[in-house]
């Protein structure tokens, strides 16, 4: 699984960084960064939760057979 994050639409609230801190970070401008682009299956539930909670819909996941989204 790949994690995708759209830095153009990110609103900088940082909910993802507390939901899955191993996977998501924020740069100096608060824009989302991906720390772990291919998290293991044990992190999947929290990555999904981060995607669901993201207020701007900027986080997604893509399977190994899918196109890699914008990171």
């Amino acid at each position: 699984m790949y994690v995708t994050a759209n830095r153009d639409t990110c609103g900088g609230c940082g909910l993802c960084t507390v939901t899955a801190p191993e996977v998501f970070g924020q740069d100096d401008e608060c824009v989302v960064t991906i720390l772990l682009p291919r998290p293991g299956p044990e992190l999947l539930p929290r990555v999904r939760e981060a995607a669901e909670r993201c207020p701007t819909g900027s986080i997604g996941t893509a399977g190994d057979h899918a196109e890699k989204g914008p990171i």
Binding site: G12, C13, E29, P55, T56, G57
Partner: protein, 397 residues
């Protein structure tokens, strides 16, 4: 003949229940409403459409456009022709402000929020009930937290209540009175910014001054002043009204209160449910302007119309929420839109959640017999505000 239009915000039959119109009118994807100013807007009622529109760049937040509906006749609220509330201008400044408000930064404020809460509740416990919860906790806590965050000295904090009351008035005050309050706040913030320039602190205004003084185009002097004022104006009243309303709501539902007292681990779910219930008011402040024709559920909203994505409707949508009319603090799947969504998602939502969690947990722990000192239907709301404040919330223990 003109079709009949409902006035919006709706009146509530009972102070703690959602207006009945939220269920009745959702049969239509869009309804036309009349705002307190007399202007017309299109109100969008279904969750899916509301959420999509909040992320739709064809809807502008810039209400200074000619022909845009006004919420109030007397109050220009967020409308300043010199400020562009749409991306990319808005995004540039918002990111500066967000640094102080990210979920991780806010979590570090927890011990301080707990300390202020404990002090206020100690003082409340010394008094003889009944007391007004607005006065003892719901207002002082968020005022102190936001003032420390942005760098307003403690001795000045009392003056802010009056200024925000004027800012949030729809019809209670004349435009002269509102303008005068705003001028006073402006004067105060000018003096504060001069003082912080000389002696910066570890606060948001000092941080914004530092960015401004780098002269790299990220923040102008005008924007620095405008955002400093805005942070004060929107920084505590929302949380204060929500906190008071949360207490009133929980105390008026003994079955739900018991669940929460028996299992304090339910608090995060309870807070989301209290937020979904949209106790602080309508969605009138989410007013937008359509820059193009927009189709919603088969209805075309023409370019130039004003549009309200109805978060209050969306939060009661039974295609998203199981039995939405039931207030249920054990609800786990709760993607409510009370903090909006998209680029204007509430910047202070993490701080608001923290304050609600600390305040409600501490209050319930310290007062095992806390109850309303009046019947729930006797709690009075003010209807002439953007936020539907409670006049007072009398509690006893």
């Amino acid at each position: 003949m003109e079709p009949t239009r409902c006035p919006y915000p709706f009146r509530r039959a009972a102070p703690l229940d959602p207006p009945a119109e939220l269920q009745k009118l959702r049969a239509e994807p869009v309804v036309q409403v009349t705002l307190p100013s007399g202007d017309t807007a299109w109100l969008v009622t279904r969750y899916k459409d509301v959420r999509a529109l909040l992320a739709d760049p064809r809807l502008s937040r810039n209400l200074s456009r000619p022909g845009a509906a006004r919420i109030s006749k007397n109050n220009r609220l967020f409308q300043d022709p010199k400020m562009d509330p749409d991306p990319p201008e808005h995004t540039r400044i918002r990111r500066l402000v967000m640094r102080a408000l990210t979920a991780a930064r806010v979590e570090r404020l927890r011990p301080r929020v707990q300390q202020i809460t404990d002090e206020l509740i100690d003082r409340m416990a010394e008094r003889t009930p009944p007391v007004d919860l607005n006065e003892t906790l719901a207002f002082p806590l968020p005022i102190r937290v936001v003032c420390e965050l942005i760098g307003v000295p403690a001795e000045d904090q009392d003056r802010f209540r009056g200024w925000t009351q004027a800012f949030l008035s729809i019809s209670g005050l004349g435009s002269d009175e509102i303008e005068r309050s705003m001028a006073e706040l402006d004067q105060y913030m000018r003096a504060l910014i001069i003082a912080k320039r000389g002696e910066p602190g570890d606060d948001l205004i000092s941080a914004m001054i530092a960015v401004r003084d780098q002269e790299d185009g990220r923040l102008s002097e005008y924007e620095l002043h405008w955002w400093s004022r805005l942070l004060v104006l929107v920084g505590f009243e929302t949380t204060a009204v929500q906190l008071g309303a949360c207490v009133a709501m929980l105390l008026s539902r003994p079955d739900q209160l018991k669940l929460l007292r028996d299992d304090p681990g339910l608090m995060p779910h309870a807070i989301e449910e209290l937020l979904r219930w949209k106790l602080v008011g309508s969605s009138v402040t989410m007013l937008r302007y359509a820059t193009e024709d927009i189709e919603v559920g088969g209805v075309v909203i023409p370019a130039g119309s004003s549009v309200i994505p109805g978060a209050d409707f969306a939060n009661q949508d039974d295609t998203v929420f199981d039995r939405p009319e039931v207030f249920d603090i054990t609800r786990t799947d709760n993607p409510h839109l009370t903090f909006s969504a998209g680029v204007h998602f509430c910047a202070g939502s993490s701080l608001a959640r923290l304050e609600l969690e600390v305040a409600l947990s501490t209050l319930l722990r310290r007062f095992p017999g806390l109850s309303l000192a009046v019947a729930p239907h006797e709690i009075q709301r003010r209807a002439d505000k953007f936020l539907e404040n409670f006049v007072e919330i009398p509690v006893t223990w």
